[in-house]
Structures are given as structure tokens and as C-alpha cells.
């Protein structure tokens, strides 16, 4: 075999090796590509799943939030109402807590327009208080002395 034949044979061997190497690389690269595609799909599916789970969680949280907002609005309205009642009560308390011009003799009270009212009438008008009339023992003695004496006699027995 001449040296050029040997060279040619070696070159053929080298080329065959190169073809075999590239064939192996190509097959492995194809396998890796398929693997990467399946991994990509795996990630994509997981992502879809995660998105739908997260959406469900957000919907639930949103529903809870709406209920909470309504509850807060209701509480707020109740608070407003209470404040208004309180303010009204405070105003009334203020009327009765100021200086009241009162007659030293008949105990009538003078209002802002200068009109003199009976004390019962005035207080009833400016507060929630109501009057129930009775008579005290001193006034019984003064106004109804006979009835007073009779009462005392009965009590002693």
C-alpha cells in the first residue's frame, strides 16, 4: 500500500468518525430539544394551574372584602345616627343647663321670647322629662289640714 493510499484511508476514517460524532450529537441534541419542549409544556401547564388557583383565591378574597365593606358602611351609618342623637341630646342638655330666669315667687320660667311659662310646661317642652303630679306632706298639712290630721291619727293606730 502506497503512502498516499494510507493517507487516503486515514482521511476516510477521520471523516467517518466525524460523521459518527455529528450523528450522535444530532440525536442527543434532538432528544434534548424534545426534553426541553416537554419541560416547557410542564412549566406552562403548571403556570395555567397556578393562575386559575390564584384567580380562585383572589375571587374569594374579593367576596370577603365586599362583605367587609358593606359591614363597615352599615357600622358607619349607625355611628352617624348615634352621633346625631347624641348631638340632639347635647343640645337639649345645653338648653336646660344654661341660666334660667325664674320668678322668685310663683316659680314661672321666662323663655327667650319673654313669655313666662309654668315650670312643668317649660321643662316638658325643652327635655324628654314628663311630669306626674302628686302632693307632698308639707303641702297636705298646709292646704288640707283636716285631711292631714286624719292621716296622722290613722298612722299612730
Amino acid at each position: 500500500m502506497s503512502s498516499s493510499d494510507a493517507d487516503l484511508r486515514q482521511r476516510i476514517q477521520e471523516l467517518e468518525t466525524e460523521v459518527r460524532h455529528l450523528g450522535n450529537e444530532l440525536r442527543l441534541t434532538r432528544e434534548e430539544y424534545e426534553d426541553a419542549t416537554s419541560k416547557y409544556l410542564d412549566i406552562y401547564c403548571n403556570l395555567e394551574k397556578k393562575i386559575s388557583e390564584r384567580t380562585r383565591e383572589l375571587d374569594a378574597a374579593n367576596g370577603k372584602l365586599v362583605l367587609e365593606i358593606e359591614e363597615r358602611k352599615r357600622t358607619e351609618a349607625e355611628k352617624e345616627q348615634l352621633i346625631a342623637q347624641l348631638q340632639k341630646a347635647m343640645q337639649e342638655v345645653k338648653v336646660l343647663s344654661g341660666f334660667l330666669p325664674i320668678c322668685a315667687s310663683c316659680k314661672k320660667i321666662r323663655d327667650d321670647s319673654g313669655y313666662w311659662s309654668q315650670i312643668e310646661e317649660y321643662i316638658s317642652k325643652h327635655s324628654n322629662a314628663l311630669f306626674s303630679h302628686g302632693i307632698c306632706p308639707d303641702c297636705v298639712k298646709k292646704l288640707y289640714p283636716d285631711f292631714h290630721a286624719e292621716l296622722r291619727r290613722r298612722t299612730k293606730k
Partner: protein, 294 residues
């Protein structure tokens, strides 16, 4: 060995020291990645979960994924995108490479030895072993890459934990050339293969990897089912030293052993030469892009 400083630390003592040293910081992630490499059913979410446990790693992966080395057409913003654009297997290799590179930082060059040279050698052996698997055997060779990257983990353990004695040893090797394993046996009573094997066993590495690390200087000592795998690591280790990717001044073993293992694997020299050329180009690209050290 004359002139070498001897140590009193036993192999078991050294392996105990590893567990309390900074070396053990890579244990969780590296162990997790090796499990994923060995498990064909592992899913992308398993890998993402593993990365999420190590936040600084995410930033490093994204930096590497966006580097000109991978030259993707778009900016990769998260691990999911990295997984799609770079691929599951490459991403596993990036993680393993990043975590392992943490052990090779720092250090001062002494004699013909430096941590950077050792890392360059490990990366070269990893690429060569993987390319032999891919081009010649038509297999992915993820375990071959991992074994190549970690085959000298025992050396970095000695460098970090028996630093003074190891530095003295590499200095002596420069003056009196002899195999590193002989020097280690005289100095420590064990060699880096045994240290690496012990560490790989303690960290529950896959059996093939334990043999690849433990017997890369003596493939005949490995379990029979792993012998061809370990011979691939031996051949890659030998050839990278021969190609100028060594890390310590020492004579190589008898070339006849290499020839025998090449025959055992059914490899042809012209095929190996073509593969070496691919790896040299790849390493050149890695060094040129400044990707050698994290």
C-alpha cells in the same frame, strides 16, 4: 517522602473536619443536583425548588445564562426562562459548576500548583469525559461531567484543611518530581482519591460517582459495573495533563496504561484527537469569556 511535612490527622479525622468547614456549604445543592442528574424522571419543578433554596445561586445562574457564552437572543429574567432557553441538562451543569467553583477561590500559587489551575484542570476533564460520552458512546454523559468536575475534590480538601503540609508537598514535588499520590501517601498516609471517595460516600453521592472520584488513578479498583466509566475519567485526566491543563508538577503514569484503557473503551486515537480539539476550543472560549471562575 524526604523533606515532606507529615500530618497526624487521619483520613477519618480529615473527613470529620470537612463537615465542620466551609467546604460542607456546597453539600446540599451539590447532593441535590447529583440526585437530579441520576434521576431520569426528575422534573423541572424539582430543579427550580432546589435552586430556590439557595438565593445567591439564582443570581449567579442568571448572570451565566445571560453571558455572551450562551448568547441567547433574549434577556433571561428567571429560572423558568433559563430552563427553557438553556435546557435542563445544561442548567444542571451550570449549577454544579457554579457550586463547585466556590471551593476553588483564593489561595496563593505555590510551585506549579494553584487553585485556579486545579479548577481549569477539573473543568477540562469534565468537558472531555462528557464529550467522549456524547460523541463516542452516544450518551448524554451528565455523570461523566460531574465526575470529571469532582474527581480531584480530595486535592481541594487537602489544600484547604491541611494547607501548610499540602503547600510544602507541592513545593517538594517541583524539586523532586514524582506522582502526587506517592507524595500524599508519604505525607498524609492517604491520597486525594481516598479523601474524595470518603467525602463522596459521606455526602451520599451516586455509586458511579463515588468510584469515579475514588479510583480515577486506579480504575481496576472500581466496581466492575463502573470500570469503563472510571477508565473514561482516567483517560480524560491523563489527556488534560498531557495537553497542558495540569495543576501540579509531576510525571504522568506509564503511557501504556493509557493505551490499554483507550483500547478497553474501544476508542480510536484519531477519534480522541478530534474530541480533544473540540474540548480545547471550548476551554479557550470559556477562558476568553472570563467564565473560568465564578
Amino acid at each position: 517522602m524526604d523533606g515532606a511535612k507529615k500530618t497526624n490527622i487521619s483520613l477519618a479525622g480529615l473527613l470529620e473536619l470537612v463537615e465542620t468547614s466551609t467546604l460542607s456549604s456546597i453539600k446540599g445543592t451539590v447532593g441535590g443536583i447529583l440526585s437530579l442528574i441520576s434521576d431520569p424522571t426528575a422534573s423541572s419543578s424539582d430543579l427550580i425548588k432546589l435552586i430556590e433554596l439557595d438565593p445567591p445561586l439564582t443570581a449567579k445562574i442568571l448572570r451565566v445564562a445571560n453571558s455572551s457564552y450562551y448568547a441567547t437572543s433574549k434577556t433571561i429574567g428567571d429560572i423558568q426562562q433559563a430552563l427553557i432557553w438553556i435546557g435542563f441538562d445544561t442548567l444542571k451543569e451550570i449549577i454544579l459548576t457554579q457550586k463547585m467553583s466556590e471551593l476553588y477561590r483564593g489561595g496563593t500559587p505555590v510551585g506549579g500548583y494553584s487553585r485556579l489551575q486545579l479548577w481549569r484542570h477539573s473543568l477540562g476533564v469534565a468537558l472531555l469525559a462528557k464529550t467522549i460520552y456524547r460523541r463516542e458512546f452516544g450518551e448524554k454523559g451528565n455523570n461523566a461531567y460531574a465526575a470529571g468536575l469532582m474527581h480531584d475534590i480530595g486535592v481541594i480538601v487537602e489544600d484547604q484543611l491541611l494547607h501548610r503540609e499540602f503547600m510544602h508537598l507541592v513545593q517538594v514535588l517541583e524539586d523532586i518530581p514524582q506522582p502526587l499520590t506517592d507524595g500524599e501517601n508519604s505525607c498524609f498516609g492517604y491520597d486525594h482519591g481516598l479523601v474524595g471517595k470518603g467525602l463522596a460516600e459521606n455526602w451520599n453521592f451516586p455509586a458511579e460517582l463515588i468510584d469515579g472520584i475514588g479510583f480515577h488513578h486506579d480504575p481496576e479498583g472500581a466496581r466492575e459495573e463502573h470500570r469503563l466509566f472510571v477508565k473514561t475519567i482516567f483517560i480524560s485526566d491523563y489527556l488534560m495533563f498531557e495537553q497542558g491543563y495540569g495543576y501540579v508538577a509531576m510525571p504522568l503514569p506509564d503511557r501504556e496504561i493509557l493505551q490499554q484503557y483507550v483500547r478497553d473503551l474501544g476508542l480510536q486515537w484519531y477519534a480522541l484527537r478530534a474530541i480533544i480539539e473540540i474540548v480545547r476550543e471550548e476551554l479557550g472560549k470559556i477562558e476568553q469569556k472570563g467564565y473560568l471562575i465564578a
